[in-house]
């Protein structure tokens, strides 16, 4: 493997297998993820896509009876190694979920939460991080006059962008998004999609989505999972114009799943 390939890759996943108890949920996954690219993960319900994305920051460890084998190399370090510092990992790999889940605190405190627990105490420094994060998610103009009001007063789309800002505040290199727009209206969805395209200038993004058009609009690479297997991983243009595997074709054209 050339140095170029190594430096471009954020994740290099080799022969990853995962079991929930007896259930073999991920089977021999080999999956490189490149820096500053958007990788979309698609597949029918129960195919393992959410399980997979949760392995990338080891959120999966919170599920009881999970067993994994193989390697998940993140910036050259196997995160399945017992010595892995999970706090450090999750600082570097932010995550947002299906529905915006702000803390019942002010807008400011939501974004400042991560930097605070990672030791930033100085108000000016915190202000800087909060402003920058809110600007990065194009929310600053909408909330700058009400930073101390409850975050739960924001609209669904704004809450989701706030959660992305909260994830960005710890300056992660990677942002994981698990169906980030499935609870949003079409305009809020398009705003998040625009945001993804802007964020990829700075971040590596992995997005799980049920919305095929979303995957085709925002991602550089698309991976199709089926029954725990990675069936096809290729450029998004190939997957949506001429996929190699007939199962991928069947899924994206709506013939099954």
């Amino acid at each position: 493997m050339s140095i170029n390939t190594l430096t471009r890759q954020v994740y290099d996943i080799n022969d990853l297998n995962l079991w929930y108890g007896e259930h073999h949920a991920l089977k021999n996954i080999n999956f490189p993820i490149n820096k500053k690219e958007v990788t979309a993960i698609i597949g029918p319900s129960g195919c393992g896509k959410s399980t997979f994305i949760k392995t990338l920051n080891l959120m999966i460890n919170m599920v009881p009876n999970v067993k994994m084998t193989g390697e998940i190399n993140f910036n050259g370090q196997n995160i399945l190694d017992e010595k892995m510092d999970l706090v450090e990992l999750r600082k570097n790999v932010g995550m947002v979920f299906q529905k915006g889940n702000p803390f019942p605190q002010s807008i400011y405190d939501n974004v400042a939460y991560g930097p605070r627990i990672h030791g930033i105490k100085k108000k000016t420094h915190l202000d800087e991080v909060v402003i920058k994060s809110l600007m990065d998610v194009a929310l600053w103009d909408e909330v700058k006059d009400r930073l101390n009001t409850p975050a739960l007063g924001l609209s669904g789309g704004q809450q989701q962008r706030l959660c992305i800002a909260r994830a960005l505040a710890t300056k992660p290199g990677v942002l994981l998004m698990d169906e980030p727009t499935s609870a949003l209206d079409p305009i809020s969805t398009l705003k998040i999609e625009e945001l993804i395209l802007e964020l990829k200038e700075k971040y590596t993004i992995v997005i799980v989505t049920h919305n095929m058009q979303q995957a085709s609009r925002v991602s550089d690479k698309t991976a199709f999972f089926l029954m725990g297997e990675l069936i096809e991983l290729d450029t998004t243009s190939t997957i949506f114009s001429n996929p190699h595997d007939s199962r991928t074709e069947g899924y994206i054209t709506g013939r099954f799943g």
């Binding site: 095929m212 058009q213 085709s216 949506f240 114009s241 001429n242 996929p243 074709e249 994206i252 054209t253 709506g254 013939r255 099954f256």
Partner: protein, 238 residues
């Protein structure tokens, strides 16, 4: 019923309607789109034959009917384009589904150009009028028969997504090109000895060119069939 329709409807009768696809609405609409295209191709095939008969039999009425009938074929093309755009807008097709629509659009344009060639042949027939033919136009007729077979083959290949038929069709284009070259030479050689028939000779040379173009449009359709099935673009016109 024209040859194109006969061949295709025979093949279609085996295709039982047991479609439980999750995209049955899309599939039905796509099927309707292809049927419209088949009708258009069938009308065009008929127009080409009639234009040729008008030329051979020096039948001015038939030539005029071909010219008048072209509007209907143009309307069919517009209908196909409208339906295809609506399908894209409403169903967001991808991969093979999108290629099918894209190819249907392209094929309809090729067929429309072929129909224009039929009109051109009919116009040449009118230009020649009832002037006695200076030569037997047997070879032109032969070239036309091959070109018409190519039309049928290319449309059948499109409908049945048959690459080998598409490739066979494209190969015959070489034969048409050769016939075109020698016919033009032959026709031009008549000019010095028949200066009063120059108009007729030029019109017949034009007809040869129109037939050669019909064969080229069939080859383009064949190329689109290969693209439809494989996603690869190839040039069969060389």
């Amino acid at each position: 019923m024209t040859h194109v329709l006969k061949v295709i409807l025979q093949e279609d009768s085996d295709d039982g309607v047991t479609n439980l696809s999750t995209r049955s609405n899309f599939d039905n609409n796509l099927k309707q789109l292809n049927e419209l295209l088949l009708n258009m191709a069938s009308q065009t095939e008929k127009a080409i034959k009639e234009a040729m008969l008008a030329l051979i039999n020096q039948d001015m009425e038939q030539a005029k009917a071909v010219i008048d009938g072209d509007n209907e074929i143009d309307d069919m093309e517009h209908e196909i384009h409208d339906k295809a755009l609506l399908l894209i807008a409403r169903e967001s097709p991808v991969a093979t589904d999108l290629r099918k629509i894209n190819v249907a659009l392209k094929v309809s344009s090729e067929v429309e150009r072929m129909a224009d060639m039929a009109v051109n042949i009919a116009k040449s027939a009118i230009h020649i009028g009832r002037e006695k033919h200076i030569t037997e136009i047997v070879d032109i007729h032969k070239m036309m028969e091959i070109a018409l077979e190519m039309v049928t083959e290319s449309i059948t290949a499109f409908y049945s997504e048959d690459i080998s038929l598409a490739q066979r069709c494209a190969k015959r284009d070489d034969q048409v090109d050769k016939m075109f070259g020698s016919l033009i030479q032959e026709l031009l050689s008549f000019i010095p000895h028949n200066p009063n028939s120059t108009n007729q000779i030029i019109q017949l040379a034009f007809v040869c060119r129109f037939i050669e173009r019909i064969a080229d449009h069939s080859t383009n359709i064949a190329e689109n069939v290969v693209y439809l099935v494989t996603g690869e673009r190839i040039n069969l016109n060389d």
